[in-house]
């Protein structure tokens, strides 16, 4: 590291502090709102820290009393987990073989580009026929139906990520095993997939986060507790139906918790996924 003047050092630290404030302030404020009482939240001048810490809203939203607001929220939480989980698994099942195939057989690579190109499609371009098809199949307002639709987003993305992961595993290992008479499924199971485990985990995390974040399809294709996901539940709360800002904030904190934890603890995996995808395209 080259030497730095004192002024430059101070400047760097100040800038870092500013960046820290920009990153943290809104997230912290969301949390503070969730534990503030309503009078604190509508006080002028605003109370930046509540006079009394009020955790009751977490109890309200996480209650399991039949036919309560909490039960509805918890149901949407589970729907989100189900839909994101199923969509992620399904995406990996279709993505792993094709990503490997493209990685090892460049001559079929163009088909992958066709698949990736679908990323450009705005969801609105597919929404009407998907709506009609789900309706015809009886899969509207259904977690399976929604998970199936989420494949439109997850499958291309995970294939792309996995392909660059397989690219970094030397083919020589596989060809050596072939010489020894191993079958393809053996090679994949014993050699390639274990080596690709980290990138598969990354792809799974990304897929899960993408599905967790999805709103548009969930808004259109779900109508009640049986399939409604968290994002729609929160939009409903924020859309003028709840006047308690603290409750909206609490719902936000609860919905953000899983991805934030994944983000913080799986940081290295996520960033390596981002950059390998980013660098190699």
């Amino acid at each position: 590291m080259e030497r730095r003047s004192l002024a430059a050092t101070i400047f760097v630290h100040l800038a870092a502090l500013l960046l820290l404030a920009v990153i943290l302030a809104p997230v912290l404020w969301l949390f503070v709102m969730s534990i503030s009482s309503t009078p604190d939240l509508i006080a002028k001048p605003l109370h930046w820290w509540p006079d009394t810490v009020d955790l009751s809203r977490y109890g309200v939203l996480l209650s399991s009393v039949a036919n309560s607001a909490g039960q509805a929220f918890v149901a949407s939480l589970f729907n989100s987990i189900k839909v994101a989980g199923m969509a992620t698994i399904a995406a990996l099942i279709v993505a792993i073989p094709s990503a490997w195939a493209v990685s090892r057989t460049p001559s079929v690579g163009w088909s992958l580009y066709a698949v990736i190109a679908t990323y450009m499609l705005p969801p609105v371009a597919l929404a009407v026929p998907l709506y009609m098809a789900l309706s015809w199949l009886g899969l509207l307002n259904n977690v399976f139906g929604l998970a199936l639709v989420y494949l439109t987003i997850l499958a291309p993305f995970t294939t792309w990520l996995l392909k660059s992961g397989f690219d970094s595993i030397p083919r020589e290992i596989e060809s050596a095993a072939t010489m020894d008479g191993a079958r393809l499924d053996q090679i994949l199971r014993i050699i390639t997939l274990p080596l690709a485990a980290p990138v598969m985990a990354t792809a799974a995390l990304f897929a899960f986060l993408l599905a967790w974040d999805e709103f548009f399809y969930a808004l259109l294709f779900t109508s009640d507790q049986r399939a409604k996901t968290l994002t729609v539940a929160i939009a409903d709360l924020a859309g003028g139906r709840v006047s308690d800002y603290g409750l909206i904030a609490t719902a936000g904190v609860l919905a953000a918790l899983p991805p934030l934890l994944i983000g913080l603890f799986m940081q290295r995996a996520l960033i390596s996924g981002l950059t390998s995808g980013g660098v190699k395209g």
């Binding site: 036919n67 789900l134 009886g138 509207l140 307002n141 259109l220 009640d224 409903d236 003028g240 139906r241």
Partner: protein, 412 residues
């Protein structure tokens, strides 16, 4: 050997039947409500609980969305076989819902007692083309709420009876330095703005449509928008009204930040609840004012009804639920946030208790309710009008030009 298998099978069948038969007898119906104004979510849940207790063979799943989502959710759920059985619908949708066969015609299910007992104004909520598509449930209009303490402080003896007087009184409060912006409205780009506008249209004697063609761009329709713009630009209206929905208006009024507010019935008892409100005991309510020489009072028909969707497989249970929710007993019991549809309830001392002022205002206001236009293309018309209102308020267009544009965009 064979015999023992048979016995086992029989036993299993019996056991299975014993285990599952209660579940089979229980009918599940799904109901869509809003939680934004009128009955609170807690009220609806409590009413429903009373219903399921009385009808243990029926269970009801409740779904709450904001008003803004109510129409789209209902329409979108049409495609799903197991969608909603009971839906809440606004007075403006029966035309569209009937045309697109979203709701079941229930004309034949309505009993003579219902016919005679329910206020005639309430029936208009569910009618289209001579048929009835549900039962009225929320009988509501926008009232003028005022803060008695602030009016007293400003030396104002009585609340306004005309819109011009409202502007004057607000100006007095502003000039005396009591509040910078004394009036709050819900003028966000949403249906709420149309309700405020309709109230004014009725005051100015305007009309939306004549022979199916738009007529709001002239006469009373134009005067109504001009009043809104004047109130906004003269500084007596809270400028943030342009992004408010009803709940924002309520929060402001409860916080004592405005002297006047136009809002639905539900605000009366909420603002009078000392637990959440700083203005409890100081809440005044009168019918929305009139215009000299044109009207004494004004009111918008903001009623809503409960209907059975045409895709429901449990129409009978759904109707049972609807009759319970709209029954006089249920409505009288929960008359704090929404007033009953039944004529005789208004003379029931138990209903009026503690809200005599509201009942007095309701008797006048409900009789004056003015409808928003009945057309299958209501959503488009409303969207176009919302844009016109906002553009005029923001000074992007003159009211007459904005309404002309709305005529072109209305799809009529």
């Amino acid at each position: 050997m064979l015999k023992s298998v048979q016995t086992a099978l029989l036993g299993a069948t019996l056991l299975g039947a014993a285990l599952f038969s209660p579940a089979h007898a229980e009918t599940k119906i799904n109901a869509l409500f809003m939680a934004q104004a009128a009955y609170s979510e807690a009220d609806v849940r409590a009413m429903t609980e009373a219903f399921t207790k009385a009808n243990p063979d029926i269970s009801v799943n409740l779904e709450f969305v904001p008003y803004e989502g109510l129409h789209d959710k209902t329409v979108l759920a049409q495609g799903s076989g197991g969608g909603y059985d009971v839906v809440l619908f606004d007075v403006i949708w029966p035309a569209e819902y009937a045309t697109n066969k979203v709701l079941t015609d229930v004309t034949d299910k309505i009993t003579p007692e219902m016919k005679s007992g329910v206020l005639p104004g309430a029936w208009t909520t569910v009618e289209y083309d001579g048929k009835r598509y549900g039962m009225p449930w929320i009988l509501d209009t926008k009232y003028l709420f005022y803060n008695k303490e602030i009016l007293e402080k400003a030396g104002i003896k009585a609340p306004p009876t005309t819109w011009a007087e409202l502007a004057e009184q607000a100006k007095t409060i502003k000039d005396k330095g009591i509040l910078a912006t004394p009036i709050a409205w819900s003028w966000s780009q949403a249906e709420a703005a149309i309700c405020d506008y309709t109230t004014l249209v009725s005051a100015y004697g305007g009309s939306f449509l004549k022979d199916g063609k738009p007529a709001f761009q002239t006469g009373g329709g134009l005067d109504a928008l001009k009043y809104m713009v004047d109130s906004y630009t003269s500084g007596v209206t809270n400028p943030n009204s342009k992004e408010f929905l009803e709940e924002d208006v309520r929060r402001l009024f409860q916080n004592g930040d405005v002297a006047f507010a136009l809002n639905w019935t539900y605000m009366y008892n909420m603002a009078n609840d000392p637990k959440d409100s700083k203005v409890a005991g100081k809440v005044g309510v009168v019918p929305a004012p009139g215009v000299e020489g044109k009207s004494k009072v004004s009111a918008v028909n903001g009623s809503m009804g409960l209907g059975i969707t045409s895709t429901s497989k449990h129409a009978d249970e759904a109707w049972k639920y609807i009759t319970f929710m709209t029954s006089q007993a249920t409505q009288n019991q929960y008359a704090k946030l929404s007033l009953p549809i039944w004529a005789s309830s208004y003379d029931d001392p138990a209903v009026a208790k503690g809200q005599e002022e509201l009942i007095a205002a309701a008797k006048v206001g409900l009789a004056a309710m003015y409808p928003r236009p009945t057309t299958p293309k209501y959503q488009e018309l409303s969207t176009a009008l919302q844009q016109a209102i906002q553009e005029s308020l923001l000074g992007q267009a003159k009211p007459d030009a904005a309404l002309e544009t709305a005529v072109q965009n209305s799809g009529l």
